[in-house]
Amino acid sequence: MAVLSPPKPSSDEGRIPRRVAFSQKRGKWDVKLSPYLYISPFFILFAITGLFPLLYTGYVSLFEWGLLKGKGDFVGLDNFTEVLNQPHFWKALRNTFSIFLLSAVPQVVMAITLAAILSANLRAKTFWRMGVLLPYVVAPVAVGLIFGKLFADESGLINAILTNIGIDPVRWHVDVLPSHFAIATMVNFRWTGYNTLIFLAAMQAIPRELYEAAIIDGAGRLRQFFSITIPQLRPTLIFIIITSTIGGLQIFDEPRMFNTTGDGGSSRQWMTLTMYLFDLGWGPQKSFGRASAVALLLFVIIVVIGMINFLVTTKIATSGPAKAKKPKSRNSTNRRTR
C-alpha cells in the first residue's frame, strides 16, 4: 500500500485533525443519507413513470382530449358515462374476464398437477423442469402469431386435425367462446410451466413429517395429495392468482396478434379492455379522454379484485390451517430452511 500511495506533501501534517473531523462529519452524513440515496432511484422513477401517470390519467379523463388536437374542454365525468354507454366497453369487459378465467383456472389445475408429477423422485429432474419452462422465453407476440395460425379457421393445423379425425372444425376466429379458448391457450402455453415451478418449490417446502404421518395412517397417494399437498399450497395458490389477475386483466399482445387486423374480431368477440383502451386512444377515435376513463375503470377493477384477494389471503393466514404461510413469508421461510 505504502509504495502505491502517492507521496504526500509534508505540509499536510498540520491539517490532519481537521481532515479527521471533516471525514467524521462526512461519515455521519454518509451513514444517515446513504440508505435514502440507495432507495431513491426506485422511488423517483416510480413517482415519474408510475404514480404520476396514474394520477394524471384521472386528470386527462375529465377533459375532451384528443391525440392530435390535444387538451380540450373540461367535460367532467362525460368520458366515463360515454364509455359506460358504449356496448364495446361491456363486450371488452366480458371478453377480458372470460379469457382470464379460461386461462387462470385450467392453468392452476395443470400447474399443480404437473408440479405433483415433477416433485416425484425423477431422473434428469432439471431436464424436465427446463422442458416445461421453455415456452416462457417465447415473446407473447410470437405466441400470438404462432397460435393465430395454428387456430386459423380454414387453413389452420388444429382444424385440419379435427377434420381428419372426423370432428367438425371449430370457428376459432368467429365464435366467442372458441376465440377466448384459443387466446387462453396462448396464455396457458407461456405461463403454465412457470407456475408449475412455483408450485413445485412450494410443494418441496411442505414438511415431510406430514406425509410420513399420513403414510403411517395408511393414506394413499391421492389422499395425501388432496389432504396435505393442496391445503399446504393454498397461500402459493392465492399468490399466483393475485399476480395472474394483475397480468391477465391487462392482456393485450396475444389477442391483438390473434388475427392480422388486430381489431378483436368483427363483433369484437375477443377485444380485451387494454385493446379497447388502445383503440380509443390511438385508433380511429383518438380520444385520450375516453382512453383514460377506460384505464381508470380497469385500474379500479384490478385493485378491487386485488383487495378481495388480499382479504381472502389474510383470512386464510389467520384462520386457515396452522401451517399455512403468507406468500411473502414463504420465501424467507424457504430460505431459512435451505
Partner: protein, 303 residues
C-alpha cells in the same frame, strides 16, 4: 465467501432430502422412483411445450405455397430455412435495427435494474433508517399496481419532452422495478451477514465502498437471476414500445408484427422472422435455463 448461491442451496436441500428419504422411508409414497407412466405423461407435456416452436421451424423452412396449400406441415423441416432467413434480411422490414434496439433495451434495463435494485435491496435489508418498514411495504404494494394503465399520460409526457420514437422512452420506465427491489431485499436479508458489513465499516470503508465490495459480491447469484428475468421481460415486451416507438425504430416484437403484413402475408417469411427473433432467447435459455428454473423456484417470481 459467505454467500451460497441459490442453486447450491437448492441442490443442497435436495441432496439432504434424498438422504433423509433413504434413511426413513422405504414404503413408497411420493419418494420412490416413479414408473414409466409418469415419464410418458411428462413426455407428452414436453411435446406440447416444444411443438409450437417446432411448428415455427416447420413453417420457416417451408414455402408459402406449401403452407397455404396444406395446413398440416411436413413432419421434418424442409430445406428453405436459410433462403427464408435471407429473405427476411432482404425485405424492407428493419430486422437488424430491431435486433440492435432489443439488445440495447434488454441489456441496459437488465444492468440498471440489477444495480438499482441491489442498492435499494441492500439498503432495505441491511441498513437502519427511519421509515424503512413503511417504505418497503410501499414498494411491495406497488407490485400490485397495474402501471401499464398509465400509458396515456406517459405518452403525452414523452411526446412533450421529445422522447417519443426514441429508445430512451422505452428504457427509462423500466430502469428499476419494484419486483427487483423486493427480490434483492429478500435475498440480501439472508445472504449477507452483518459481520461482513461491520468489518468493512471498521476498516474505514465508506458506505458506497462497503456496498460495492461487500454487498455486490454477496448479491451476485440473485443479481444474475434478476438480470435474466429482466432481460427476458424487456426482450418480449410489446405494448409500450409499440405505442411509443413507431415502425421506424422498432424492437423485435414490433418487427414480428410488421412482418405479418396484410396485403400479402408470406407465412414462411413471417415464421422465419419469428424464429430469428426468438433464437437469441432460446440461446439464453440453453445457456442459463438452469438458473431460470432455480430462480423461479427460489422465490415467487412473476415477470
Amino acid at each position: 465467501m459467505s454467500s451460497i448461491p441459490v442453486i447450491a442451496q437448492t441442490a443442497g436441500k435436495g441432496a439432504a432430502r434424498s438422504a433423509a428419504r433413504r434413511r426413513k422411508i422405504k414404503l413408497g409414497g411420493p419418494d420412490r422412483r416413479p414408473g414409466w407412466v409418469t415419464y410418458a405423461i411428462l413426455s407428452v407435456v414436453l411435446l406440447i411445450s416444444i411443438y409450437p416452436l417446432y411448428y415455427v421451424i416447420q413453417l420457416a423452412s417451408s414455402t408459402n405455397l406449401a403452407i397455404v396449400r396444406n395446413p398440416i406441415p411436413a413432419l421434418l423441416p424442409e430445406g428453405n430455412l436459410f433462403t427464408n432467413f435471407g429473405r427476411v434480411f432482404d425485405s424492407n422490414i428493419p430486422l437488424m435495427k430491431g435486433f440492435v434496439n432489443s439488445v440495447v433495451v434488454a441489456v441496459v434495463q437488465s444492468f440498471t435494474v440489477v444495480i438499482f435494485s441491489t442498492l435499494a435491496g441492500y439498503s432495505f435489508a441491511k441498513l437502519r433508517f427511519r421509515g424503512r418498514g413503511p417504505l418497503l411495504v410501499f414498494v411491495i404494494a406497488t407490485m400490485a399496481i397495474p402501471t401499464q394503465l398509465g400509458v396515456v399520460p406517459l405518452f403525452i409526457v414523452m411526446s412533450e419532452i421529445g422522447w417519443s420514437g426514441k429508445l430512451i422512452a422505452v428504457i427509462v420506465p423500466g430502469m428499476v422495478t419494484a419486483f427487483g427491489v423486493f427480490w434483492m431485499t429478500q435475498y440480501l436479508e439472508g445472504a449477507l451477514p452483518y459481520e461482513l458489513i461491520e468489518a468493512a465499516r471498521v476498516d474505514g470503508a465508506s458506505m458506497i465502498r462497503t456496498f460495492w465490495h461487500v454487498a455486490m459480491p454477496a448479491a451476485r447469484p440473485a443479481a444474475a437471476m434478476l438480470a435474466l428475468f429482466t432481460f427476458i421481460g424487456s426482450w418480449t415486451a410489446f405494448f409500450w414500445p409499440f405505442i411509443i416507438l413507431g415502425s421506424k425504430n422498432p424492437t423485435l416484437p414490433m418487427v414480428m408484427q410488421l412482418l405479418n403484413s396484410t396485403y400479402f402475408t408470406d407465412f414462411s417469411l413471417v415464421m422465419a422472422g419469428v424464429l430469428l427473433s426468438t433464437l437469441p432467447l432460446i440461446a439464453v435459455f440453453a445457456f442459463a435455463g438452469r438458473q431460470l428454473v432455480a430462480g423461479i423456484m427460489a422465490g415467487a417470481v412473476k415477470g
